[in-house]
Amino acid sequence: MRRIFQIDGEETECWLSHDGNELIVNTPDGAIPCQLDPTGTPGGHVLRVRGRAQELRLAVGPDATFVHLNGQTYAIGRVDPAERLAGNDGGAADDRIVAPMPGVVVSVNAKPGDQVKEGQPLLVIESMKLETSLIAPRDGVVAEIPFAAGDSFGLKATLAQLAPEED
């Protein structure tokens, strides 16, 4: 898999190889043979491409490499392919919150008809000495919260239900 870089907001896929003599930067527009040698000054390098020599300075950060060239600085962001290619979590979130285990409702923080935001706590349950906050899986409207504080429930009982999303 080619590596993904971000330059000026544009993503480009590249791969660096070596032919035994010099480096080859493989870009979507073709292969570019080149050489990069340190000059001895901090971050200083000489880049040789197609007979031309160009001095530049490099600084490597955790997420990007910075290149100082001809009085200008360029940030080359490295995009993690596993993150970039994961997509959007594979579909819509479930509208229902089901009990992960049997337990007791400690408190209910929303009521039917309430507009809730993703991540907002809807109710708190207790089981096995632990209080767990159950949160809204997405923005939406609460359709139903069948249990009240103090009620006990079984495994996979529906503890809260959001109204179906309108298209």
């Binding site: 993150e83 049997p102 000495k129 209080e131």
Partner: protein, 535 residues
């Protein structure tokens, strides 16, 4: 490896309330640590000065490489015993750096009861020597002890893991070709005489150091012979006549320079090589842990937020992220060392137990050390789970954990209840080091549950006798039990009893683990092998 994306809002009211509560606890904790290390009655300080002896902390300074870390164990040992009069159990132990190499250090603290061995002193020394054996660390003993504390002789002397175990472990170290040097900076009397004599090298400080089986008063009582300390067991006699001592040191400074010279000429065995990456500080500030740990122990929190403040670059490769989600498993680096992490995000179910067992096998296969981050209230109970074989799946997890050949490290970050403590490599399961956070709790069950169970038994017994109990009478039975249990499950009780290797400020967890992992690599890692898994 990808960075964990923290969801924590450091401006949220919850974060601030947690942060304030934890900061308060840590202020108290650091004050306790400081007192145990440095605060002594003036008469004890004066006595050391009169005897022309340095305090144990000054001795450590002379011994250790300047500017290097010292991983001190169980600073608060015995803090809830002997009315708090034996800080640190009268001994300092830990892993330090001498001449560039990792060594285990056992140093009597003569400013506490003349360095006498109390039951907890013995436990602490035996633990240190176990650490040395498991990790193949050379040992440096700094001897200055009045001997066993006689009023509690049965607590220091006869049993398998008491006094004799100190010397037994010294023999096992020697047998395993792990060198030891003892610096005799006070009297080593009776059993204490065997610490320097079982060491491959020993140094006696002239004037203050002495070794004898019976001191002058005992000799006088036994045989009538009158003899002075120096003639009976001083540095000159032992290094030139008896051969019991190896080197005579003119001063404390001379003694420690000799000890450092001895260490520098020991053979260096190459350390075990595991996967490493270049060192990276966590991306998220470890001090944010103070606001992440809920002030109410019952409140659930995401252990990934904790991991993000412990591991290199806050980077974590999560394994099976969508299966058995109450058990977070994955790979990360700490101080550059690759580790497999198991962290609790809730109760252990069948699937989470199986996931843990599977992941541990994976780590053993790859020689990846294991780090356990405990916040565990137990394995799930109830008919549904018994039918699915929760006890069988828990047994698989124990078989994989207990049968692991890679070094294991445990941090009790919050709750450590019941069999969950076992599955997650509690004290009995040979973690190379086990540390606890000051707000954490450990017990067969939570204090409330235990107190209620005990009180219920009592109440039912009275009811059978025909007694009708009022609310007040029930409270009078339950409240004292509850109070006792609440104290019993506290981290201070655990650390007092040496059920851990010390309490940690959560922000120091990363360094304590880094140092532990580094030290563990002095020992080889065996090929993986297990017992029978109940499939």
């Amino acid at each position: 490896m990808r960075r964990i994306e923290s969801q924590i809002d450091t401006n949220a009211p919850d974060f601030k309330a947690n942060h304030a509560a934890m900061s308060e606890r840590l202020k108290e904790f650091h004050a306790h640590q400081h007192a145990a290390r440095f605060e002594r009655p003036q008469r004890d300080i004066d006595r050391l000065a009169r005897q022309n002896k340095l305090g144990v902390r000054e001795r450590l300074k002379l011994l250790l490489d300047p500017g290097t870390p010292f991983l001190e164990f169980s600073t608060l040992a015995a803090c809830r015993e002997y009315d708090g009069t034996v800080p640190g159990a009268a001994v300092v132990t830990g892993i330090g750096i001498v001449q560039g190499r990792e060594v285990a250090i056992h140093a009597n603290d003569a400013s506490v009861k003349g360095g006498a061995w109390y039951p907890h002193t013995v436990k602490k020394i035996v633990r240190l020597l176990d650490v040395a054996l498991e990790n193949r660390l050379p040992v440096i003993h700094i001897c200055d002890s009045a001997g066993g504390f006689l009023p509690l002789q049965h607590g220091v002397f006869p049993d398998r893991y008491l006094g004799g175990r100190v010397f037994r472990n010294q023999v096992k170290l020697s047998q395993a070709n792990i060198p030891q040097v003892a610096i005799v900076g006070g009297h080593c009397t009776a059993g204490g005489a065997y610490v320097p004599t079982l060491s491959d090298y020993n140094i006696i400080i002239e004037g203050t150091g002495a070794i004898f089986l019976g001191g002058p008063p005992l000799v006088k009582a036994a045989t009538g012979e009158e003899v002075g300390v120096q003639e009976l067991g001083g540095a000159v006699m032992h290094t030139s006549v008896s051969g019991t001592g190896d080197y005579r040191a003119a001063t404390e400074q001379h003694a420690f320079s000799l000890a450092r010279e001895i260490v520098s000429q020991w053979k260096r065995t190459p350390k075990t090589i595991i996967e490493t990456a270049s060192f990276e500080e966590p991306y998220y500030d470890p001090k944010e842990l103070y606001g992440i740990i809920p002030k109410d122990r019952k409140t659930q929190f995401d252990m990934r937020e904790v991991l993000a403040r412990i591991v290199d670059g806050s980077r974590f490769h999560e394994y099976q992220p969508e299966y058995g989600t109450t058990m977070v498993c994955g790979f990360a680096h700490i101080w550059g060392y690759k580790v497999g992490i198991l962290a609790n995000n809730g109760v252990l179910f069948n699937d989470s137990s199986l996931k843990a067992a599977h992941f541990m096998q994976l780590c053993n296969q790859n020689r990846t050390p294991l780090v356990f981050l405990q916040n565990i209230t137990g394995y799930m109970v109830g008919r549904e789970y018994e039918e699915r074989g929760i006890a069988k799946d828990g047994a698989k997890m124990l078989m994989a954990q207990g049968g692991s050949v890679v070094p294991k490290f445990t941090v009790i970050a919050n709750a450590s209840y019941g069999a969950g403590n076992y599955g997650m490599c509690g004290r009995a399961w040979d973690a190379r080091t086990l540390f606890m956070w000051p707000q954490a709790e450990i017990g067969v069950m939570g204090a409330d549950q235990a107190a209620n169970t005990m009180a219920d038994v009592k109440i039912r017994q009275l009811e059978r006798e025909g007694k009708e109990l009022s609310e007040e009478e029930i409270a009078a039975i339950r409240d004292p039990v509850l109070e006792k249990f609440r104290r019993d499950v506290e981290a201070y009780t655990s650390t007092s009893e040496l059920w851990d290797d010390g309490l940690l400020d959560p922000a120091d967890t990363r360094n304590a683990l880094g140092m532990s992992i580094s030290a563990s690599l002095n020992a080889p890692i065996d090929d993986p092998h297990y017992g029978i898994f109940r499939l």
